[in-house]
Structures are given as structure tokens and as C-alpha cells.
């Protein structure tokens, strides 16, 4: 299809505002006499508060309120940013109160103060006296599941939050049919999002007595509901405003601060309060990525076909449920479309421990399982003596395949082309030959890994999106969406879509970037790589409706039937000849001011997308390994994606750059560390937590295989999370290629790599 705006690298609609510092974030929301909130955190990983005395803190001049667990509603609520489930069985686990009398990790919120300024608030925290009864900290799933271990939450036996899995086909039969059986154990580490903007919320009570919360979130409409639930008040009494957001990666697909901020303003008679976490707090008391251990057993036929796979997973979800149960399931679902096989059994255990809460993070369980499966398949190929790429190709999915459990269908699939493109970009064959017989202390190798993912959550979750368009008096339009721009560029691609449908330039589409639950149409928010695909459907629908109304209006003005008309370059034209009938601006004026026929044109649309689209892609990596130190350097890396039609290539490329950077950190360096006895965090700051810097990331090669996804009005599919997913296993497979040593644990930091080389007798 020939597009004029879609598919072009136009500038972000918010670029100038962000670069010049004019964009307003939650931290820029300043009310007169704004108070400051701060949280008192438990120094113990597992402890019961025996006694708490806040009298001294309360007496400190400048302290306006002190809250403890005794002052919060006795209501348990769930924080995961999911649409509400009408079916009680499908609701998220309600396992926390706003403040707690039982600390479940180091940093758990016990009490809070509201004061006139930061220093007073910090001083007040020191004056709160707490007496704890310290319990045994359970820092690993194994410890937590041990017979007789103390319970972190009373209603979860052996501290198991959930064990919901599935079996497709008959796994034991498949193993009998197989010629070979292979087994591996693999594990990943706890990492953190490290988004630029820390978590921050402000709240006050407005003149109608409603609570207004300005917050850095991915999910404003869900925040409204959860604050209502947590406080036990009608949801309509809460108004949530989301200004510009400095990144989230899933940590803001969760309701971390808002209920407490709301409670704080209520405690001071509705005066405005700001609650902002420091980086150190953000890294322990928002969300992390689940560390998951896998045991995989796979049956393969002589000719390299996968017959059956059994995956047992143990996921460390930390102190509260958040998204834990759902992540184990999502990860176990989205990967399986890539290599359909006769039988697949997935048995996950999601286990509470006394560590920070794990939740949604870019890829939502897929980076973990993809690391495990793609490493495992690489091991198998090598043992079978089959080229690892050929081995994968033998087992890849085809268009038309239907997932046997959820019914989602593969309607577009460019994975084979992605692989070919990646091979070519990295010069696979040439380098493979060159690196065949290496000696010396530095060894090079090539590796790759594939992934599959989905566009949104259907059929597990509701995929509702809303868009509203108003035709302005000058022929420009106003676009409102419920979907949230959090830095990924969604506002820009929506503007492109509207411009495309309406035949106007992008700068005539004014996107209202702020979501306000009082005003903005309903949308579940930024997660699951859903917005361009799912919200794009609502945006296209609204734009088409506006276009239809415009052409109908022109019909009334000119007697030319609407079906003979089109809009091109801000003009109403004859569809067949392109001849100009009149400028769109003239029509717009008439819609407002024609004394007889005036009827301003708007559309207010919701779309319940009961559909999904699979995306695919691959990372190719070349590494150099220093055998003497264990240091791995990524020399070249390429991500090739099938995300359908790319709406804005430059934004898409940026998305891939960020994702690959995150993947490199995951592969080589990042890991949250805790004292092995007490569970105290050791590196909850950006100096000791080794996120890669720009100096550590090589040039990143990006390519797209643009299939056309028929379920999307513009042929697009998901791209938000996917770039992170296959990076770590590709690097791991490259290290295996370079050294012959098969790593089964992330991150592959120098010490671990060195120790493993020693163990393998390489040095």
C-alpha cells in the first residue's frame, strides 16, 4: 500500500518540547505550599512490628502527618496494572495493604510522614521508634518452599503463589517417540528497569472533594481503579493525570506510590503532597525482573525435528504478588508459537521470597524463557552436530498456524527472512570459517537466537482502546487517546496514522499527550507492546469516522456524493482524478459557522480488539572473549525484527537500540545483589549496579523485515518489548561458539566466566 505519512521517519511530536526542557513531567507539577512525603522502611527482610512510637516524629515542627500501618484502610489490594477482571477467579492476588505491620523485604513500607520540606521529613523518619521481632529471611525459592519454612503470606502454602501451567499433546508419548533426549538447567538473575525518571506522584483534594493524583505511570485508568480499591472509596472520586513520563519499562505498569500519596493528602486535609522516590528507593521498592530457574527436557528426532519439550520453571517473585503469577504464564505462552511441536508441557512455580517485589519488565517473562530455550536449542544442535541455524529452521512456524491453547493465529511471519538478513549483516559464513581454528588468549565467536512474541494480551486480557478526534476550525485536528506516551513514541505514530487517513500533514494533528481520567477516553495503558497495534486500531477507526463525516458534509455543500470524494494534501478532491474541490479548511469553517448546517465534526471511538498478532525476530552477535580474565566484549550485534509494517523507521530503530542495550546489560553485567544472610540490598544505586554505559555498547545494527499484518489497519505489529528478548541468548551462544563452554546462568560477568573456564579446563 502506498502511504504518504505512515512509514516515514518524521520527528517525534514531542521532540522539541523534550529537548528544550519545556515538557512537563510529574516533578514539574508544583502547587503552592506543596508538602513532602517520605517513607519509613524496614531494615529487616522478614519481621513483625511489635511496637511503633511516632510521638516524637509528630512533635517535630514542620511535620504535618505521620501514618503507620494502623492508620491505613484494612483492605488488601493488588497492584498489577491489569484490566479489571469481572470473573473473581481471574483477579490479581490481593496481598498487601498500603503500609504494613509485617515487613516482607528490606525496604518494605512501615510508616510514612508528611512534612513541609524534605529535610524535616527525613528528620521525622529518624524519630519514629520501631520495635521488630525478626523472622527468618527466605531469600531463595528453595528456602521458601522448604517444609516448615515460615509463611510470608499466611494463605500461601509453602510460599507458592501460583503453579498454573499447561500441557499440549502428551509429553511422555512424545519422549518415547523421540530418538534423542536432551536436558539442561538454566537460570537468570534479578535485574531492574533503571528508567530515567524515578517513581513520583503528587496528590491533592480538589474543591469537589475528589482526590487528584498527578503521577508518572503507564496506566492512568488502572491507577484510578486501584486507588479506589485500596482506599475503599468510589473509583469516580479519584482523578488521575499522567503528564510526560521519563520511561517505565513495566515498573510503572504497577501501582506503587499512588494509594499512599492519596492517603497522605487525605491526612493533611487535602493539601498537595509530593512523594518522590530516590534512585536507591526506586531500585528496591518498585519492581524488579523475576529471576527464574528452568529445567528443560527435550525430545528430538534423528532428522532434527523437535518432538516434545518439558519445561519446569521456578520463578522468584519476591515479597508481594504484583504480576508474578501472570508473568510465569505469559512467558510460557508467547515463546511457544516459534517452534510448534507435538507436545509441550510447562510447569511453573511462582514463589514468594523476602526480596524486593518482581513485576512487569520489558518482555514480561519472555527474556527469561527465551534465554533458557534458545541456549538449550543451541546445546542440542551442537550435540547433534547440526548447524544451529539449520536446526532452528527445521522447526520454525509457518503462516496459518493456530496456537492450540489460545487460538491466536499466525497471519504474518518473516522469521526466515529475519534469519537470512541477520546472517548476511554479520557475515556469518565468512567469519565462521575464519574463526574455525583459533588459538591464543582472545577468542571470537558468533551466536544467534530467535524469539516470538505477541502484540498485546488477547485472549488472556481485555484489549480496549479509545480515541477521540475533533476537527478544528482551521482544518487541523485534535487527537486524544487513552494510550500513554512514556517515551516510546506512541503519540507520534498515532499522529502519523491520523494524518495518513485524513490527508493532512502531521503538524496539523495536535496530540493531547497528557492523559486525564476525567477527560481522556479509556485505554488500559502502555504495556504488552500493545499500543501501536491495538490503540492504532482505535485511532484509525476514529480517523475514518471523521473522514466519513467530512466527506458527507461536503456532499451536503456541493452535491458531489461522498463516495466520489477523498482528502489529499488538505484538500477535498475527486477520488478518480485528484482534482481539487475545495480546501479542507473551508469545510472545517462551514462545519462550525454555517448558520443552517453547522455541525462540528468529532469522533469518539472505542475498540475492543479481540485479536492478536505474533511478532518474530532474531539477534546475531559476535563476541571476543578474553580467556585470561573472563571478560566478554560484544564486537558486533544485529537485531532483525518482523514487526509488520514499520510506522516510523527512526523511532523503531531507537526502540531497538534501547532494547539491545538492555539485553547486553542482562547478558553480561546487570544483577541485583543481596546480602546472603540478611537480604539487604548491596547495589541499589547506579554506581554499583552495572548497567552498561554508552561506552560499553557497540554500534547496534537494526533491520526490519516488513511483513503486512492483515489484522492491523496499517499492517503493523508489536515492537516495544521484543528487541530485548533474544539478545542475552545470542551473546551466550556466541561465547559458546568462541570457547566451547556452555553457560547456563546470567549474567556472564568476568568472574563467573573465568571460574567456568577453569572448571571446563580451558585455562
Amino acid at each position: 500500500m502506498a502511504y504518504t505519512v505512515v512509514g516515514k521517519s518524521i520527528n517525534r511530536v514531542d521532540a522539541v518540547a523534550k529537548v528544550t526542557g519545556q515538557a512537563k513531567y510529574t516533578g514539574d507539577f508544583i502547587e503552592r505550599d506543596m508538602l513532602v512525603g517520605k517513607i519509613l522502611r524496614s531494615p529487616y527482610a522478614h519481621a513483625i512490628v511489635k511496637n511503633i512510637d511516632v510521638s516524637k516524629a509528630r512533635a517535630l515542627p514542620g511535620v504535618e502527618a505521620v501514618l503507620t500501618y494502623a492508620d491505613v484502610p484494612k483492605i488488601k489490594f493488588a497492584t498489577a496494572g491489569h484490566p479489571y477482571a469481572l470473573d473473581p477467579k481471574h483477579r490479581d492476588k490481593e496481598d498487601r495493604t498500603i503500609l504494613t505491620s509485617k515487613a516482607r523485604f528490606v525496604g518494605d513500607a512501615i510508616a510514612a510522614v508528611v512534612a513541609t520540606d524534605e529535610l524535616t521529613a527525613a528528620e521525622a523518619l529518624k524519630l519514629i521508634e520501631v520495635e521488630y521481632e525478626v523472622l527468618e529471611p527466605l531469600l531463595t525459592p528453595e528456602a521458601a518452599m522448604r517444609e516448615g519454612a515460615p509463611l510470608i503470606h499466611d494463605d500461601c502454602e509453602r510460599n507458592i503463589l501460583s503453579s498454573y501451567g499447561y500441557e499440549i499433546g502428551a509429553i511422555e508419548e512424545a519422549f518415547q517417540e523421540a530418538d534423542y533426549i536432551f536436558e539442561d538447567e538454566l537460570e537468570t538473575s534479578i535485574v531492574q528497569h533503571c528508567q530515567l525518571e524515578n517513581h513520583v506522584s503528587c496528590a491533592y483534594v480538589d474543591s469537589d472533594g475528589r482526590i487528584v493524583i498527578v503521577t508518572s505511570t503507564q496506566i492512568p485508568h488502572i491507577v484510578r481503579r486501584i486507588v479506589g480499591q485500596a482506599l475503599g472509596i468510589p473509583w469516580g472520586r479519584v482523578r488521575v493525570i499522567k503528564p510526560c513520563v521519563g520511561g517505565g519499562f513495566g515498573s510503572k505498569q504497577d501501582v506503587c506510590l499512588e494509594p499512599l500519596t492519596a492517603l497522605m493528602t487525605l491526612a493533611v486535609g487535602g493539601r498537595p503532597v509530593r512523594l518522590e522516590l530516590s534512585r536507591e528507593e526506586c531500585m528496591i521498592d518498585t519492581r524488579t525482573r523475576h529471576a527464574i530457574k528452568y529445567k528443560i527436557k527435550t525430545g528430538v528426532s534423528k532428522d532434527g525435528k523437535l518432538i516434545g519439550m518439558h519445561i519446569a520453571a521456578i520463578s522468584n517473585t519476591g515479597a508481594y504478588a504484583s504480576h508474578g503469577h501472570s508473568i510465569a504464564m505469559a512467558g510460557g505462552t508467547k515463546f511457544r508459537i516459534l517452534y510448534p511441536m507435538k507436545a509441550l508441557k510447562y510447569e511453573p512455580l511462582t514463589v514468594y521470597t523476602n526480596l524486593p517485589v518482581a513485576g512487569a519488565m520489558r518482555g514480561y517473562g519472555s527474556p527469561q524463557i527465551t534465554f533458557a530455550v534458545e541456549s538449550h536449542l543451541e546445546n542440542i544442535a551442537r550435540k547433534l552436530g547440526i548447524d544451529p541455524i539449520e536446526f532452528r529452521k527445521k522447526n520454525l512456524v509457518n503462516v496459518g498456524y493456530v496456537d492450540p491453547l489460545n487460538g491466536n493465529t499466525v497471519r504474518s511471519c518473516g522469521i526466515r527472512e529475519c534469519i537470512e538478513k541477520g546472517k548476511e549483516l554479520i557475515k556469518w559464513d565468512e567469519k565462521k570459517a575464519r574463526y574455525k581454528n583459533q588459538a591464543g588468549t582472545k577468542r571470537r565467536g558468533l551466536g544467534m537466537a530467535c524469539f516470538s512474541y505477541a502484540s498485546g494480551t488477547h485472549p488472556v486480557g481485555l484489549e480496549m482502546a479509545g480515541a477521540r478526534i475533533v476537527l478544528n476550525q482551521d482544518g487541523s485536528v485534535q487527537l486524544q487517546i487513552g494510550a500513554t506516551e512514556i517515551g516510546q513514541g506512541s503519540d507520534t505514530v498515532f499522529a502519523q496514522m491520523v494524518a495518513e487517513v485524513l490527508g493532512i500533514p502531521v503538524d496539523m494533528v495536535h496530540v493531547i499527550s497528557t492523559q486525564d481520567t476525567d477527560i481522556t477516553p479509556f485505554d488500559t495503558g502502555a504495556y504488552a507492546s500493545r499500543q501501536t497495534y491495538i490503540t492504532g486500531m482505535a485511532v484509525a477507526k476514529a480517523a475514518l469516522e471523521v473522514k466519513e463525516k467530512i466527506l458527507d458534509f461536503v456532499w451536503g455543500m456541493t452535491d458531489i456524493p461522498a463516495h466520489a470524494l477523498d482528502i489529499k494534501e488538505q484538500n477535498i478532491v475527486y477520488k478518480h482524478s485528484g482534482e481539487v474541490v475545495m480546501p479542507l479548511a473551508e469545510v472545517a469553517l462551514h462545519t462550525y459557522y454555517d448558520t443552517v448546517f453547522a455541525r462540528p465534526i468529532t469522533s469518539d471511538t472505542s475498540n475492543n480488539a479481540r485479536i492478536n498478532a505474533f511478532v518474530f525476530g532474531v539477534t546475531f552477535a559476535e563476541v571476543e572473549v578474553d580467556l585470561k580474565t573472563g571478560k566478554i566484549e560484544v564486537l558486533e550485534i544485529y537485531n532483525v525484527h518482523d514487526s509488520g509494517k514499520i510506522i516510523n523507521p527512526q523511532l523503531a530503530e531507537g526502540q531497538v537500540h534501547g532494547g539491545v542495550g538492555m539485553g547486553i546489560g542482562y547478558a553480561l553485567a546487570e544483577q541485583m545483589l543481596f546480602d546472603e544472610k540478611t537480604g539487604k540490598p548491596l547495589n541499589n544505586n547506579l554506581l554499583d549496579y552495572k548497567m552498561p554505559t554508552i561506552m560499553d555498547i557497540p554500534d547496534i545494527g537494526v533491520a526490519f523485515v516488513e511483513t503486512f499484518e492483515p489484522t492491523s489497519p496499517f499492517g503493523c505489529k508489536a515492537l516495544g518489548e521484543p528487541p530485548t528478548i533474544p539478545v542475552a541468548p545470542a551473546i551466550r551462544n556466541a561465547v559458546l561458539d568462541a570457547t566451547g563452554v556452555a553457560f547456563n546462568r546470567l549474567p556472564m560477568n568476568p568472574q563467573r566466566v573465568f571460574e567456568k573456564f577453569k572448571e571446563a579446563g580451558l585455562i
Binding site: 585470561k628 580474565t629 552498561p692 554505559t693 554508552i694 568472574q751
Partner: protein, 295 residues
């Protein structure tokens, strides 16, 4: 939290300001001190800034010696043509510190007086045999850098009444070479898991002088005489280097740290980094490449 921030215009002025304000301390780039203040580790009333004192950022060669001002920044040191040519170990160490912003602010004096065992330029200065000039109102003293340490984070320079004005490094002349090697989990903003600086001299094919400094394997930058001794009088071959590296490994006592690496790993790495640094230094000293295969 400090209540006063003063700028000294000369070392004497600085000492007078320190004396006049009880609870005063001098500040250079502030990249260590400000963090300490924020964390409440020091109670300081007045800060005396020395970065505007003329001459305190000097980098020059005088009478066969390299002079480095106490407030010379890491950026200055790492980009100085003189230092890169004559003291490459120090240039490399300065280039490894933190990030561009930290290097623009952080100074050699601060790196030494902050007294962390693995401070990059301090390790290089120890290997180079730098001597510090320290002023106090009662007078001046000259102390080799390795003798300025009293314990982890404790310096014999008392920054509430003394100022370190310069470092002096004597040039050894013909046949000298130095090098720096560092292992860190990422390329910027990363304190070293291990760093090594070496300085050697080769006269008529034999090593006549050697200094090897390793960190963090002791409470202060560790000047490893056991390893240096192996080299003296020897031809700098791969085999000799390997023996020196083995001696260094045997002498090093790194701690176990979840953040910085295990003791065993860092002991192994001591041998690797000492080998690499010595190989580079001897190559510079002799103009010949040394085969590394015995590493």
C-alpha cells in the same frame, strides 16, 4: 551540612582560612567529599575551595622531574601530552576514572587524600614513586605517596589544616617505561575490581629498577616489592614476567566481595594484570614487543 564556602587564592590563604574556621576542611573537585557530606559521614562547617589557587593545577617538567599540582584534574592529566609521553601509566589511570564529568572535577590530590585503596591515579602515583609536598602553617614536608596512608579512607594528610600542593615524579631517564592495567565490569563509571600500575627501567638489556603497585589487595595501594625483586638484574622475557606475576599473586591479599569480586578471582587476576602491565611497560622501555603467550 556546611554553612560557608570560601575560595582560597593561595596555599597560605587556604591554611589561614582553615585555621580561622574551626570545623573547616578543604575541598577540591568535591567528587568524594560531597558524597561523604550528603551521607552525613563528616560534620563540616566551612569548605575551603582550592581549585582557584594559581599554580595548583600545574603540569610541567622541571630539572628532570615532572611536577603535578595537587589540584590537577584527571582530565588535565589524561590529556596532557607530557604525561602521556613520560608517564603513560598515570595518563591511563587518570583516563580510567569515572566519567568525563568526574574527570573534569576530580583531582589527583583528592584521589590520594581520600585514601581509598584502589583509587586509580593514587595507584599510578605510588608505582611511579611520586613524592607529595604538603604544607601546613608550621612548615612543609615531602612524603612518598605510599607513606600517606593510615588505613582504608584514612590519610596522613589532614585536610582540615594541611594542603597537598604538588606531586613530584623523578624521571629515570633512558630505558624507562610505565603502564597501567585495570579490570572493571564496565568501561565507565566503574570502580576497579583490580588495578595495577608498574614502572620499570631497562639498562643494557637488564631490568635495573621496578615498582609494581596493585589494588585493592590491601588496605592501601600495595607496592609489591616481592614481585619487583624478581625482575631486578634480569632480562625482561616472558618467563621473567610470569615469575614476577606469580610473586605478585602470592603476595596479594584481596578481600571477598560480592560487588567487586571474590578473593580467589582477584588473586588470579593479579597475575594477569601484572603480566599485562609489565609486558606493556617493558615494551615501552625497550622498544621491543614481548611475546605474551606464557601469560
Amino acid at each position: 551540612m556546611p554553612r560557608q564556602y570560601l575560595f582560597a587564592t593561595s596555599p597560605a590563604d587556604c591554611l589561614a582560612m582553615l585555621a580561622a574556621h574551626p570545623g573547616a576542611r578543604l575541598i577540591a573537585g568535591g567528587t568524594d567529599l560531597v558524597i561523604d557530606l550528603k551521607e552525613g559521614k563528616r560534620q563540616i562547617h566551612t569548605l575551603v575551595d582550592i581549585t582557584r589557587i594559581p599554580g595548583l593545577k600545574i603540569i610541567a617538567e622541571e630539572n628532570g622531574k615532572i611536577i603535578l599540582g595537587g589540584a590537577a584534574t584527571h582530565t588535565q592529566v589524561s590529556t596532557s601530552g607530557l604525561i602521556r609521553e613520560k608517564l603513560p601509566a598515570l595518563a591511563a589511570a587518570a583516563a580510567a576514572v569515572g566519567s568525563p564529568q568526574i574527570r573534569n572535577a576530580g583531582t589527583l590530590g583528592g584521589n590520594v587524600v581520600n585514601a581509598q585503596p584502589a583509587a586509580d591515579t593514587a595507584v599510578a602515583l605510588v608505582a611511579l614513586g611520586a613524592v607529595a609536598t604538603i604544607l601546613r602553617r608550621e612548615g612543609e614536608r615531602q612524603v612518598p605517596v605510599e607513606e600517606l596512608y593510615e588505613g582504608v579512607g584514612l590519610s596522613k594528610v589532614d585536610a582540615s589544616r594541611e594542603i597537598l600542593t604538588r606531586f613530584t615524579v623523578e624521571l629515570w631517564g633512558e630505558g624507562e617505561g610505565s603502564a597501567f592495567a585495570r579490570l572493571s565490569p564496565r568501561r565507565a563509571l566503574s570502580l576497579p575490581m583490580l588495578n595495577v600500575a608498574v614502572r620499570v627501567q631497562v639498562v643494557e638489556g637488564r631490568c635495573t629498577r621496578a615498582r609494581i603497585c596493585i589494588a585493592p589487595v590491601a588496605p592501601q595501594p600495595f607496592l609489591c616489592e616481592e614481585a619487583a625483586r624478581v625482575l631486578i638484574g634480569q632480562e625482561p622475557t616472558a618467563d621473567v614476567i610470569a615469575r614476577a606475576a606469580a610473586a605478585a599473586k602470592a603476595a596479594a591479599r584481596p578481600r571477598d566481595s560480592l560487588l567487586r569480586g571474590s578473593s580467589a578471582y582477584r588473586k588470579d587476576m593479579t597475575a594477569v594484570l601484572v603480566t599485562r602491565a609489565l609486558t606493556a611497560a617493558f615494551s615501552r622501555a625497550t622498544g621491543r614487543k614481548i611475546e605474551m603467550d606464557v601469560e
